[in-house]
């Protein structure tokens, strides 16, 4: 692989890497979620207080938001023209960044014992 790929190449490559990461992480989450006896607060808080489970949820969230940010950007580049293009991409990046911060806060709170 080119040792110093350009920005577009990195974008393309990272989109593939995050998609590969999302295969096991997505399947883990669906399986783990469906294996919970209930989705009430006590069950979910106990589940995601386990460090490994919290780590997987964090990795899943990061991979989702990264992949999503890239995918949304590509669609906006294709179908939004003119001045709105740059604005819509920056808006999407802002929303994804806020979601990533919220995700980090949530996982930290869950793993340190709830009631953050």
């Amino acid at each position: 692989m080119n040792p110093r790929p350009g920005r577009a190449t990195r974008h393309w490559r990272n989109q593939r890497l995050t998609s590969i990461a999302l295969l096991p992480l997505g399947l883990w989450f669906l399986a783990a979620l469906l294996r919970q006896p209930d989705l009430d607060y006590a069950t979910v808080a106990a589940w995601l207080a386990k460090p490994l489970q919290a780590l997987l949820a964090l990795l899943l969230g990061i991979a989702i938001l990264w992949h999503s940010g890239q995918g949304v950007q590509v669609v906006l580049e294709d179908y939004v023209g003119g001045r709105l293009r740059g604005f819509s991409i920056r808006l999407s990046q802002f929303i994804h960044a806020v979601a990533a911060a919220a995700l980090a806060w949530a996982v930290y709170g869950l793993v340190t014992g709830g009631g953050a």
């Binding site: 938001l65 991409i89 995700l103």
Partner: protein, 135 residues
């Protein structure tokens, strides 16, 4: 800045005669966008759980609404579709399956796998009960 994009852009859809391989390609983007929106529900759910029992109970009322349940059901189908279609895209990236006949065959495989996985998740797990709210 962001324009012009540093890559070839997708041609505008109107120039093509619709074909079902093309419909699948559009579906991949549509499910991707839909799942992007749903990722905010995922983050919101985690935030509610981290914020404590009261916030989680409020989130529970939101998630048990009919519209949100419907969205989550569609998201489950979109998840499976995007996963299988994504594997097809990764195979293309590795150089496999470009022939017109294999592209059509893999399209059918994606649809069958999606239907099977969606049905299996709905009917062989608690998903149906949770999504429909039946006891």
């Amino acid at each position: 800045m962001h324009s012009p994009a540093e890559r070839p852009l997708s041609p505008h859809l109107q120039v093509y005669r619709p074909m079902y391989t093309m419909v699948l390609s559009i579906l991949h983007r549509a499910t991707g966008l839909f799942l992007s929106a749903c990722s905010l529900l995922f983050v919101g759910w985690l935030v509610a759980a981290a914020a404590g029992p009261d916030a989680y109970a409020a989130a529970g009322r939101f998630f048990s609404g009919f519209a949100v349940r419907f969205v989550l059901t569609v998201a489950l189908a979109a998840f499976w579709y995007h996963l299988f279609a994504g594997i097809r895209h990764l195979a293309w990236d590795l150089g496999f399956g470009f022939e017109k006949s294999s592209a059509r065959a893999s399209a059918a495989v994606v649809l069958v796998c999606t239907a099977a996985a969606f049905a299996a998740t709905l009917f062989l797990t608690p998903a149906w009960r949770w999504l429909t709210g039946t006891p």
